[in-house]
Protein backbone atom coordinates (compact mmCIF):
# COMPACT_ATOMS: atom_id res chain seq x y z
CA UNK A 1 0.00 0.00 0.00
CA UNK A 2 2.90 2.35 0.64
CA UNK A 3 3.58 2.46 -3.06
CA UNK A 4 0.29 4.08 -3.69
CA UNK A 5 1.69 7.35 -2.52
CA UNK A 6 4.15 7.60 -5.35
CA UNK A 7 1.33 7.55 -7.89
CA UNK A 8 -0.28 10.54 -6.33
CA UNK A 9 1.76 13.17 -8.09
CA UNK A 10 -1.03 14.01 -10.40
CA UNK A 11 -1.47 17.16 -12.41
CA UNK A 12 -4.25 18.01 -9.99
CA UNK A 13 -1.78 19.34 -7.45
CA UNK A 14 -0.06 22.14 -9.31
CA UNK A 15 1.00 24.05 -6.23
CA UNK A 16 3.26 21.29 -5.00
CA UNK A 17 5.54 20.72 -7.94
CA UNK A 18 7.18 24.17 -7.94
CA UNK A 19 7.46 24.06 -4.17
CA UNK A 20 9.28 20.76 -4.38
CA UNK A 21 11.53 21.94 -7.18
CA UNK A 22 12.40 24.96 -5.09
CA UNK A 23 13.05 22.81 -2.05
CA UNK A 24 15.36 20.58 -4.05
CA UNK A 25 17.16 23.61 -5.48
CA UNK A 26 17.74 24.89 -1.97
CA UNK A 27 19.11 21.52 -0.93
CA UNK A 28 21.49 21.39 -3.85
CA UNK A 29 22.61 24.96 -3.37
CA UNK A 30 23.31 24.61 0.33
CA UNK A 31 24.98 21.23 0.08
CA UNK A 32 27.10 22.22 -2.89
CA UNK A 33 29.38 23.93 -0.39
CA UNK A 34 29.49 20.69 1.57
CA UNK A 35 30.98 18.76 -1.33
CA UNK A 36 34.16 20.77 -1.25
CA UNK A 37 34.79 19.79 2.34
CA UNK A 38 37.83 17.58 2.10
CA UNK A 39 37.32 14.03 3.20
CA UNK A 40 38.94 13.03 6.41
CA UNK A 41 42.04 11.01 6.05
CA UNK A 42 41.97 7.26 6.41
CA UNK A 43 38.87 5.08 6.20
CA UNK A 44 36.44 7.84 7.10
CA UNK A 45 35.71 8.87 3.53
CA UNK A 46 32.09 9.50 2.72
CA UNK A 47 31.71 7.56 -0.50
CA UNK A 48 30.18 4.24 0.46
CA UNK A 49 26.85 2.55 -0.04
CA UNK A 50 24.39 2.75 2.83
CA UNK A 51 20.92 1.42 3.49
CA UNK A 52 18.48 3.74 5.20
CA UNK A 53 15.47 2.28 7.02
CA UNK A 54 12.82 4.97 7.24
CA UNK A 55 9.24 5.21 8.46
CA UNK A 56 6.60 4.83 5.76
CA UNK A 57 5.46 8.43 6.16
CA UNK A 58 8.92 9.59 5.04
CA UNK A 59 8.74 7.85 1.68
CA UNK A 60 8.49 10.90 -0.57
CA UNK A 61 10.77 13.14 1.47
CA UNK A 62 13.52 10.59 2.00
CA UNK A 63 13.47 9.48 -1.62
CA UNK A 64 14.21 13.09 -2.48
CA UNK A 65 16.76 13.47 0.31
CA UNK A 66 18.61 10.33 -0.74
CA UNK A 67 19.01 11.75 -4.24
CA UNK A 68 20.27 15.04 -2.86
CA UNK A 69 22.69 13.24 -0.54
CA UNK A 70 24.13 11.22 -3.41
CA UNK A 71 24.69 14.42 -5.37
CA UNK A 72 26.20 16.18 -2.39
CA UNK A 73 28.60 13.31 -1.73
CA UNK A 74 29.62 11.84 -5.08
CA UNK A 75 30.29 8.13 -4.94
CA UNK A 76 27.75 7.46 -2.24
CA UNK A 77 24.76 5.28 -2.89
CA UNK A 78 21.67 5.26 -0.68
CA UNK A 79 19.23 2.35 -0.69
CA UNK A 80 15.93 2.96 1.03
CA UNK A 81 13.61 0.63 2.86
CA UNK A 82 10.26 1.98 4.02
CA UNK A 83 7.90 0.31 6.50
CA UNK A 84 6.09 0.99 9.75
CA UNK A 85 8.58 2.07 12.42
CA UNK A 86 8.12 -0.99 14.62
CA UNK A 87 8.50 -3.25 11.60
CA UNK A 88 11.80 -1.57 10.83
CA UNK A 89 13.08 -2.10 14.37
CA UNK A 90 12.00 -5.75 14.23
CA UNK A 91 13.79 -6.20 10.91
CA UNK A 92 16.99 -4.62 12.26
CA UNK A 93 16.79 -6.67 15.47
CA UNK A 94 16.49 -9.82 13.37
CA UNK A 95 19.64 -8.88 11.47
CA UNK A 96 18.53 -6.91 8.41
CA UNK A 97 21.56 -4.99 7.12
CA UNK A 98 20.91 -1.29 7.77
CA UNK A 99 23.07 1.76 8.39
CA UNK A 100 20.56 4.43 9.37
CA UNK A 101 17.17 4.34 11.05
CA UNK A 102 14.63 7.15 10.84
CA UNK A 103 11.53 6.37 12.87
CA UNK A 104 8.18 8.09 13.17
CA UNK A 105 8.25 8.41 16.94
CA UNK A 106 10.62 8.59 19.87
CA UNK A 107 9.22 5.44 21.53
CA UNK A 108 10.21 3.18 18.64
CA UNK A 109 13.66 4.73 18.46
CA UNK A 110 13.88 4.17 22.21
CA UNK A 111 13.24 0.46 21.65
CA UNK A 112 16.05 0.37 19.11
CA UNK A 113 18.29 2.10 21.64
CA UNK A 114 17.35 -0.35 24.40
CA UNK A 115 18.18 -3.22 22.06
CA UNK A 116 21.64 -1.75 21.55
CA UNK A 117 21.13 -1.15 17.86
CA UNK A 118 22.19 2.51 17.74
CA UNK A 119 25.69 3.87 17.16
CA UNK A 120 25.01 7.19 18.90
CA UNK A 121 22.32 9.43 20.25
CA UNK A 122 19.34 9.86 17.91
CA UNK A 123 18.73 13.35 16.51
CA UNK A 124 15.23 14.77 16.12
CA UNK A 125 14.88 16.05 12.58
CA UNK A 126 11.16 16.65 11.96
CA UNK A 127 7.77 16.72 13.58
CA UNK A 128 4.30 15.83 12.45
CA UNK A 129 0.83 16.73 13.65
CA UNK A 130 -2.48 14.95 13.31
CA UNK A 131 -5.24 16.35 11.18
CA UNK A 132 -8.71 15.15 10.28
CA UNK A 133 -8.86 13.88 6.72
CA UNK A 134 -12.27 13.81 5.06
CA UNK A 135 -13.23 12.75 1.53
CA UNK A 136 -13.02 15.67 -0.92
CA UNK A 137 -16.81 16.18 -0.87
CA UNK A 138 -16.97 15.82 2.94
CA UNK A 139 -20.25 13.82 2.91
CA UNK A 140 -20.73 14.03 6.68
CA UNK A 141 -20.11 17.80 6.75
CA UNK A 142 -17.31 17.56 9.29
CA UNK A 143 -15.66 20.75 10.52
CA UNK A 144 -14.24 19.71 13.87
CA UNK A 145 -13.13 16.76 15.97
CA UNK A 146 -16.49 16.87 17.78
CA UNK A 147 -18.28 16.42 14.43
CA UNK A 148 -16.22 13.31 13.78
CA UNK A 149 -17.52 11.86 17.05
CA UNK A 150 -21.13 12.53 16.04
CA UNK A 151 -23.72 9.76 15.77
CA UNK A 152 -23.66 7.85 12.50
CA UNK A 153 -20.34 9.35 11.43
CA UNK A 154 -17.87 6.71 10.30
CA UNK A 155 -14.54 7.74 11.75
CA UNK A 156 -11.38 5.68 11.43
CA UNK A 157 -8.24 6.02 13.55
CA UNK A 158 -5.03 4.08 14.12
CA UNK A 159 -5.04 1.47 16.88
CA UNK A 160 -3.37 2.69 20.09
CA UNK A 161 -0.65 0.07 19.61
CA UNK A 162 0.85 2.09 16.72
CA UNK A 163 2.31 5.60 17.05
CA UNK A 164 -0.44 7.41 15.13
CA UNK A 165 -3.04 5.74 17.34
CA UNK A 166 -1.25 6.72 20.53
CA UNK A 167 -1.15 10.30 19.23
CA UNK A 168 -4.85 10.12 18.32
CA UNK A 169 -5.70 8.99 21.85
CA UNK A 170 -3.80 11.97 23.28
CA UNK A 171 -5.64 14.35 20.93
CA UNK A 172 -9.01 12.88 21.93
CA UNK A 173 -8.08 13.31 25.57
CA UNK A 174 -6.95 16.90 25.07
CA UNK A 175 -10.19 17.71 23.24
CA UNK A 176 -12.41 15.82 25.65
CA UNK A 177 -13.90 13.96 22.70
CA UNK A 178 -14.57 10.22 22.48
CA UNK A 179 -14.41 9.28 18.81
CA UNK A 180 -16.08 5.82 18.82
CA UNK A 181 -14.22 4.76 15.65
CA UNK A 182 -15.70 2.17 13.29
CA UNK A 183 -12.21 0.83 12.71
CA UNK A 184 -8.80 0.99 14.38
CA UNK A 185 -6.24 0.36 11.67
CA UNK A 186 -2.69 -0.91 12.05
CA UNK A 187 -1.17 1.85 9.97
CA UNK A 188 -1.87 5.42 9.04
CA UNK A 189 -1.84 4.45 5.35
CA UNK A 190 -4.79 2.14 6.00
CA UNK A 191 -6.68 4.96 7.72
CA UNK A 192 -6.02 7.25 4.79
CA UNK A 193 -7.08 4.51 2.36
CA UNK A 194 -10.46 4.21 4.05
CA UNK A 195 -10.94 7.97 3.67
CA UNK A 196 -9.74 8.32 0.08
CA UNK A 197 -12.00 5.44 -0.98
CA UNK A 198 -14.95 7.19 0.69
CA UNK A 199 -15.65 4.24 3.01
CA UNK A 200 -15.04 6.41 6.04
CA UNK A 201 -16.35 9.92 6.67
CA UNK A 202 -13.26 11.01 8.54
CA UNK A 203 -9.88 9.72 9.66
CA UNK A 204 -7.18 11.02 11.99
CA UNK A 205 -3.97 11.05 9.98
CA UNK A 206 -0.82 13.15 9.82
CA UNK A 207 -0.71 16.52 8.08
CA UNK A 208 1.87 15.03 5.72
CA UNK A 209 -0.54 12.25 4.71
CA UNK A 210 -3.24 14.77 3.86
CA UNK A 211 -0.72 16.75 1.83
CA UNK A 212 0.48 13.65 -0.03
CA UNK A 213 -3.06 12.47 -0.80
CA UNK A 214 -3.59 15.54 -2.96
CA UNK A 215 -7.12 16.21 -4.15
CA UNK A 216 -8.61 12.96 -2.89
CA UNK A 217 -9.02 14.23 0.66
CA UNK A 218 -9.42 17.50 2.50
CA UNK A 219 -7.59 18.27 5.71
CA UNK A 220 -9.36 19.82 8.67
CA UNK A 221 -7.20 21.44 11.33
CA UNK A 222 -7.61 20.03 14.81
CA UNK A 223 -6.38 22.62 17.35
CA UNK A 224 -6.06 19.94 20.03
CA UNK A 225 -3.53 18.10 17.87
CA UNK A 226 -0.92 20.45 19.31
CA UNK A 227 -1.13 18.23 22.40
CA UNK A 228 0.29 15.29 20.49
CA UNK A 229 3.03 16.45 18.17
CA UNK A 230 5.12 13.51 17.01
CA UNK A 231 8.88 13.96 16.65
CA UNK A 232 10.91 11.97 14.14
CA UNK A 233 14.39 10.90 15.27
CA UNK A 234 17.17 9.62 13.03
CA UNK A 235 20.25 7.69 14.13
CA UNK A 236 23.19 5.77 12.71
CA UNK A 237 23.16 2.08 13.53
CA UNK A 238 25.78 0.18 15.47
CA UNK A 239 26.16 -2.56 12.88
CA UNK A 240 26.77 -0.18 9.99
CA UNK A 241 29.52 -1.33 7.64
CA UNK A 242 30.22 2.30 6.74
CA UNK A 243 29.81 4.43 9.90
CA UNK A 244 31.23 7.59 8.29
CA UNK A 245 28.71 7.65 5.47
CA UNK A 246 25.91 6.64 7.84
CA UNK A 247 26.74 9.53 10.18
CA UNK A 248 26.97 11.89 7.20
CA UNK A 249 23.46 10.92 6.21
CA UNK A 250 22.19 11.49 9.75
CA UNK A 251 23.77 14.95 9.74
CA UNK A 252 22.37 15.63 6.30
CA UNK A 253 18.82 14.55 7.21
CA UNK A 254 18.83 16.67 10.34
CA UNK A 255 20.55 19.61 8.66
CA UNK A 256 19.03 22.84 7.39
CA UNK A 257 18.92 21.78 3.74
CA UNK A 258 16.80 18.72 4.51
CA UNK A 259 14.43 20.99 6.43
CA UNK A 260 13.33 22.56 3.15
CA UNK A 261 12.40 19.21 1.63
CA UNK A 262 10.65 18.02 4.77
CA UNK A 263 8.86 21.36 5.18
CA UNK A 264 7.54 21.13 1.62
CA UNK A 265 6.02 17.74 2.51
CA UNK A 266 4.28 19.25 5.53
CA UNK A 267 6.67 18.21 8.29
CA UNK A 268 7.24 20.73 11.07
CA UNK A 269 10.53 21.65 12.71
CA UNK A 270 11.62 19.11 15.36
Amino acid sequence: MANRRSSRHRPGTPARAPARALALAVVLATTACGTSTPDDAGGDTIDGSITVFAAASLKDSFTELAGAFEQAYPGTEVSLNFAGSSDLVTQITEGAPADVLASADAATMGKAGDAGLLAGEPVDFASNTLQLAVPADNPAGITSLADAAGPGVKTVVCAVQVPCGAAAARVEQAAGVDLMPVSEESSVTDVLGKVTSGEADAGLVYVTDVRAAGDAVRGIEVPEAAAAVTTYPVAALADSADPATAQAFVDFASGPSARAVLGAAGFGAP
Binding site: M1, A159, Q161, V182, S183, E184, G193, S197, E199
Partner: protein, 273 residues
Protein backbone atom coordinates in the same frame (compact mmCIF):
# COMPACT_ATOMS: atom_id res chain seq x y z
CA UNK B 1 10.36 -46.01 5.00
CA UNK B 2 11.10 -47.47 1.61
CA UNK B 3 12.74 -44.88 -0.60
CA UNK B 4 14.71 -47.28 -2.79
CA UNK B 5 12.43 -46.78 -5.76
CA UNK B 6 13.50 -43.16 -6.20
CA UNK B 7 16.86 -41.64 -7.11
CA UNK B 8 18.58 -40.40 -3.95
CA UNK B 9 18.74 -36.76 -5.09
CA UNK B 10 14.96 -36.68 -5.53
CA UNK B 11 14.53 -37.80 -1.94
CA UNK B 12 17.16 -35.27 -0.81
CA UNK B 13 15.35 -32.41 -2.54
CA UNK B 14 12.06 -33.54 -1.06
CA UNK B 15 13.59 -33.46 2.41
CA UNK B 16 14.92 -29.95 1.77
CA UNK B 17 11.45 -28.87 0.65
CA UNK B 18 9.86 -30.44 3.70
CA UNK B 19 12.29 -28.67 6.03
CA UNK B 20 11.59 -25.40 4.26
CA UNK B 21 7.95 -25.74 5.26
CA UNK B 22 8.39 -27.18 8.73
CA UNK B 23 11.48 -25.37 10.04
CA UNK B 24 9.89 -21.87 10.20
CA UNK B 25 7.04 -23.31 12.26
CA UNK B 26 9.51 -24.95 14.62
CA UNK B 27 11.46 -21.68 14.84
CA UNK B 28 8.27 -19.89 15.79
CA UNK B 29 7.33 -22.46 18.40
CA UNK B 30 10.81 -21.99 19.93
CA UNK B 31 10.12 -18.27 20.36
CA UNK B 32 6.90 -18.81 22.30
CA UNK B 33 7.01 -17.39 25.80
CA UNK B 34 5.56 -20.53 27.39
CA UNK B 35 5.06 -19.25 30.97
CA UNK B 36 2.93 -16.42 29.59
CA UNK B 37 1.33 -18.48 26.83
CA UNK B 38 -2.04 -19.07 28.49
CA UNK B 39 -2.57 -15.47 29.67
CA UNK B 40 -1.49 -14.21 26.25
CA UNK B 41 -3.95 -16.30 24.25
CA UNK B 42 -6.81 -15.82 26.69
CA UNK B 43 -6.62 -12.03 26.95
CA UNK B 44 -9.82 -10.14 26.14
CA UNK B 45 -8.66 -9.02 22.74
CA UNK B 46 -7.34 -12.48 21.84
CA UNK B 47 -10.57 -14.19 22.85
CA UNK B 48 -12.66 -11.66 20.96
CA UNK B 49 -10.49 -12.19 17.89
CA UNK B 50 -10.61 -15.98 18.13
CA UNK B 51 -14.38 -16.09 18.58
CA UNK B 52 -14.91 -13.62 15.74
CA UNK B 53 -12.60 -15.65 13.51
CA UNK B 54 -14.44 -18.91 14.22
CA UNK B 55 -17.86 -17.31 13.77
CA UNK B 56 -17.02 -15.55 10.50
CA UNK B 57 -15.08 -18.49 9.05
CA UNK B 58 -17.96 -20.89 9.72
CA UNK B 59 -20.42 -18.47 8.10
CA UNK B 60 -18.10 -17.98 5.14
CA UNK B 61 -17.75 -21.77 4.77
CA UNK B 62 -21.55 -22.18 4.79
CA UNK B 63 -21.78 -19.50 2.10
CA UNK B 64 -19.11 -21.27 0.06
CA UNK B 65 -21.04 -24.57 0.26
CA UNK B 66 -24.30 -22.85 -0.64
CA UNK B 67 -23.00 -21.34 -3.87
CA UNK B 68 -19.86 -23.45 -4.43
CA UNK B 69 -21.68 -26.78 -4.84
CA UNK B 70 -23.94 -25.42 -7.61
CA UNK B 71 -20.92 -23.78 -9.22
CA UNK B 72 -18.95 -27.03 -9.22
CA UNK B 73 -21.96 -28.93 -10.60
CA UNK B 74 -22.44 -26.42 -13.41
CA UNK B 75 -18.74 -26.52 -14.28
CA UNK B 76 -18.49 -30.33 -14.17
CA UNK B 77 -21.83 -31.45 -15.59
CA UNK B 78 -22.81 -28.88 -18.18
CA UNK B 79 -21.09 -27.48 -21.20
CA UNK B 80 -21.49 -24.02 -22.56
CA UNK B 81 -19.53 -21.52 -24.56
CA UNK B 82 -16.81 -19.85 -22.59
CA UNK B 83 -16.84 -22.51 -19.88
CA UNK B 84 -13.05 -22.70 -19.73
CA UNK B 85 -12.86 -18.96 -19.28
CA UNK B 86 -15.50 -19.07 -16.54
CA UNK B 87 -13.56 -21.80 -14.77
CA UNK B 88 -10.37 -19.74 -14.85
CA UNK B 89 -12.21 -16.70 -13.55
CA UNK B 90 -13.76 -18.64 -10.69
CA UNK B 91 -10.33 -19.81 -9.62
CA UNK B 92 -8.86 -16.33 -9.81
CA UNK B 93 -9.15 -15.50 -6.08
CA UNK B 94 -6.87 -18.48 -5.49
CA UNK B 95 -3.94 -16.79 -7.19
CA UNK B 96 -4.90 -13.16 -6.66
CA UNK B 97 -3.08 -11.32 -3.87
CA UNK B 98 -5.75 -11.02 -1.16
CA UNK B 99 -5.22 -7.28 -0.86
CA UNK B 100 -6.19 -6.99 -4.51
CA UNK B 101 -9.33 -8.99 -3.72
CA UNK B 102 -10.04 -6.53 -0.92
CA UNK B 103 -9.72 -3.56 -3.25
CA UNK B 104 -12.00 -5.27 -5.77
CA UNK B 105 -14.60 -5.96 -3.08
CA UNK B 106 -14.33 -2.37 -1.91
CA UNK B 107 -15.05 -1.05 -5.39
CA UNK B 108 -18.04 -3.39 -5.68
CA UNK B 109 -19.71 -3.35 -2.27
CA UNK B 110 -18.12 -0.27 -0.71
CA UNK B 111 -20.17 2.83 -0.07
CA UNK B 112 -19.03 4.34 -3.36
CA UNK B 113 -18.71 1.01 -5.13
CA UNK B 114 -20.57 -0.44 -8.08
CA UNK B 115 -23.40 -1.84 -5.95
CA UNK B 116 -22.77 0.31 -2.91
CA UNK B 117 -25.37 2.99 -3.63
CA UNK B 118 -28.05 0.39 -4.46
CA UNK B 119 -27.28 -1.47 -1.24
CA UNK B 120 -27.35 1.84 0.60
CA UNK B 121 -30.84 2.49 -0.77
CA UNK B 122 -31.90 -0.91 0.56
CA UNK B 123 -30.59 0.06 3.96
CA UNK B 124 -27.72 -2.42 3.78
CA UNK B 125 -24.48 -1.01 5.14
CA UNK B 126 -21.57 -3.36 4.66
CA UNK B 127 -18.70 -1.01 5.40
CA UNK B 128 -16.81 -1.84 8.62
CA UNK B 129 -19.28 -4.60 9.53
CA UNK B 130 -18.79 -8.27 10.32
CA UNK B 131 -20.60 -8.95 7.03
CA UNK B 132 -17.65 -7.41 5.23
CA UNK B 133 -15.32 -9.86 7.00
CA UNK B 134 -17.46 -12.83 5.94
CA UNK B 135 -17.54 -11.58 2.36
CA UNK B 136 -13.76 -11.18 2.25
CA UNK B 137 -13.33 -14.69 3.60
CA UNK B 138 -15.88 -16.25 1.28
CA UNK B 139 -14.28 -14.50 -1.69
CA UNK B 140 -10.88 -16.06 -1.09
CA UNK B 141 -12.17 -19.43 0.17
CA UNK B 142 -14.72 -20.22 -2.55
CA UNK B 143 -12.23 -21.52 -5.15
CA UNK B 144 -10.99 -24.20 -2.73
CA UNK B 145 -14.44 -25.73 -2.52
CA UNK B 146 -15.26 -25.39 -6.20
CA UNK B 147 -11.88 -26.77 -7.26
CA UNK B 148 -11.93 -29.86 -5.04
CA UNK B 149 -15.59 -30.64 -5.74
CA UNK B 150 -15.37 -30.17 -9.48
CA UNK B 151 -12.36 -32.47 -9.65
CA UNK B 152 -14.22 -35.15 -7.72
CA UNK B 153 -17.32 -34.79 -9.89
CA UNK B 154 -15.23 -35.28 -13.01
CA UNK B 155 -13.35 -38.28 -11.65
CA UNK B 156 -16.47 -40.18 -10.51
CA UNK B 157 -17.95 -39.74 -13.97
CA UNK B 158 -21.60 -39.85 -14.95
CA UNK B 159 -22.24 -43.60 -15.26
CA UNK B 160 -24.25 -43.97 -12.07
CA UNK B 161 -26.19 -40.81 -12.82
CA UNK B 162 -27.05 -42.13 -16.28
CA UNK B 163 -28.21 -45.43 -14.84
CA UNK B 164 -30.35 -43.64 -12.29
CA UNK B 165 -31.93 -41.50 -14.97
CA UNK B 166 -32.78 -44.49 -17.17
CA UNK B 167 -34.46 -46.06 -14.15
CA UNK B 168 -36.74 -43.06 -13.97
CA UNK B 169 -35.12 -40.88 -11.37
CA UNK B 170 -35.72 -37.17 -11.85
CA UNK B 171 -32.89 -34.61 -11.97
CA UNK B 172 -33.30 -33.64 -8.32
CA UNK B 173 -33.38 -37.29 -7.23
CA UNK B 174 -30.24 -38.08 -9.23
CA UNK B 175 -28.47 -35.09 -7.71
CA UNK B 176 -29.60 -35.86 -4.19
CA UNK B 177 -29.34 -39.66 -4.19
CA UNK B 178 -26.42 -40.31 -6.54
CA UNK B 179 -24.24 -37.33 -7.40
CA UNK B 180 -23.88 -35.67 -4.01
CA UNK B 181 -23.35 -38.89 -2.00
CA UNK B 182 -20.66 -39.88 -4.51
CA UNK B 183 -18.70 -36.70 -3.95
CA UNK B 184 -19.51 -36.21 -0.27
CA UNK B 185 -15.93 -36.85 0.92
CA UNK B 186 -14.65 -34.26 -1.56
CA UNK B 187 -17.33 -31.84 -0.45
CA UNK B 188 -16.32 -32.23 3.19
CA UNK B 189 -12.61 -31.87 2.52
CA UNK B 190 -13.30 -28.91 0.24
CA UNK B 191 -15.38 -27.27 2.94
CA UNK B 192 -12.68 -27.90 5.54
CA UNK B 193 -10.04 -26.33 3.29
CA UNK B 194 -12.34 -23.36 2.65
CA UNK B 195 -12.76 -22.96 6.39
CA UNK B 196 -8.99 -23.00 6.85
CA UNK B 197 -8.50 -20.43 4.13
CA UNK B 198 -11.23 -18.23 5.63
CA UNK B 199 -9.60 -18.48 9.04
CA UNK B 200 -6.31 -17.27 7.64
CA UNK B 201 -7.78 -14.44 5.57
CA UNK B 202 -5.93 -11.20 6.19
CA UNK B 203 -5.32 -8.94 3.21
CA UNK B 204 -8.86 -8.63 1.90
CA UNK B 205 -10.27 -8.16 5.40
CA UNK B 206 -7.74 -5.45 6.21
CA UNK B 207 -8.54 -3.58 3.01
CA UNK B 208 -12.29 -4.08 2.86
CA UNK B 209 -13.56 -4.52 6.41
CA UNK B 210 -11.26 -2.57 8.69
CA UNK B 211 -10.17 -3.63 12.15
CA UNK B 212 -12.23 -3.22 15.32
CA UNK B 213 -12.17 -5.55 18.31
CA UNK B 214 -15.16 -7.90 18.33
CA UNK B 215 -16.52 -6.63 15.00
CA UNK B 216 -13.91 -6.95 12.30
CA UNK B 217 -10.59 -7.75 13.98
CA UNK B 218 -10.08 -11.42 13.26
CA UNK B 219 -7.21 -13.45 14.67
CA UNK B 220 -4.75 -12.72 11.83
CA UNK B 221 -5.45 -8.99 12.17
CA UNK B 222 -4.96 -9.26 15.93
CA UNK B 223 -1.62 -10.99 15.36
CA UNK B 224 -0.59 -8.23 12.98
CA UNK B 225 -1.55 -5.52 15.47
CA UNK B 226 -0.09 -7.18 18.58
CA UNK B 227 3.22 -7.50 16.77
CA UNK B 228 3.54 -3.72 17.06
CA UNK B 229 3.68 -3.66 20.85
CA UNK B 230 3.78 -7.21 22.16
CA UNK B 231 5.62 -9.60 19.84
CA UNK B 232 5.22 -12.38 22.44
CA UNK B 233 1.44 -12.14 22.17
CA UNK B 234 1.70 -12.17 18.38
CA UNK B 235 3.82 -15.32 18.44
CA UNK B 236 1.48 -17.04 20.91
CA UNK B 237 -1.57 -16.24 18.79
CA UNK B 238 0.27 -17.33 15.66
CA UNK B 239 0.87 -20.67 17.29
CA UNK B 240 -2.86 -20.98 17.98
CA UNK B 241 -3.51 -20.40 14.27
CA UNK B 242 -0.87 -22.96 13.32
CA UNK B 243 -2.45 -25.55 15.63
CA UNK B 244 -5.89 -24.89 14.16
CA UNK B 245 -4.45 -25.14 10.65
CA UNK B 246 -2.73 -28.46 11.44
CA UNK B 247 -5.97 -29.81 12.89
CA UNK B 248 -7.91 -28.70 9.84
CA UNK B 249 -5.46 -30.25 7.39
CA UNK B 250 -5.54 -33.42 9.46
CA UNK B 251 -9.33 -33.58 9.24
CA UNK B 252 -9.26 -32.95 5.50
CA UNK B 253 -6.76 -35.79 5.06
CA UNK B 254 -8.75 -38.20 7.20
CA UNK B 255 -11.92 -37.60 5.21
CA UNK B 256 -10.23 -38.19 1.91
CA UNK B 257 -6.51 -38.52 1.37
CA UNK B 258 -5.89 -35.52 -0.85
CA UNK B 259 -5.45 -36.49 -4.47
CA UNK B 260 -6.82 -40.00 -4.06
CA UNK B 261 -9.27 -41.10 -6.68
CA UNK B 262 -12.84 -42.28 -6.68
CA UNK B 263 -14.39 -43.71 -3.55
CA UNK B 264 -15.12 -47.43 -3.72
CA UNK B 265 -18.10 -47.99 -6.01
CA UNK B 266 -19.89 -50.77 -4.05
CA UNK B 267 -20.57 -48.49 -1.11
CA UNK B 268 -21.87 -45.90 -3.50
CA UNK B 269 -24.14 -48.39 -5.24
CA UNK B 270 -25.70 -49.21 -1.90
CA UNK B 271 -26.42 -45.57 -1.28
CA UNK B 272 -27.79 -45.03 -4.76
CA UNK B 273 -30.33 -47.75 -4.47
Amino acid sequence: MNTAVLPRWVVALAVVGGLFVVLPLVAMALRVDWPRFVPLVTSDSAQAALLLSLRTSLTATALCVLVGVPMALVLARTSFRGQRLVRSLVLLPLVLPPVVGGIALLYTFGRRGLLGSSLDALGVDIAFSTTAVVMSQAFVALPFLVLSLEGALRSVGTRYEAVGATLGAGRWTVLRRITLPLVLPALVSGAVLSFARALGEFGATLTFAGSLQGTTRTLPLEVYLQRETDPDAAVALSLVLVVVAVAVVGVAHRVRPLGSGTPAPPRVQNRAR
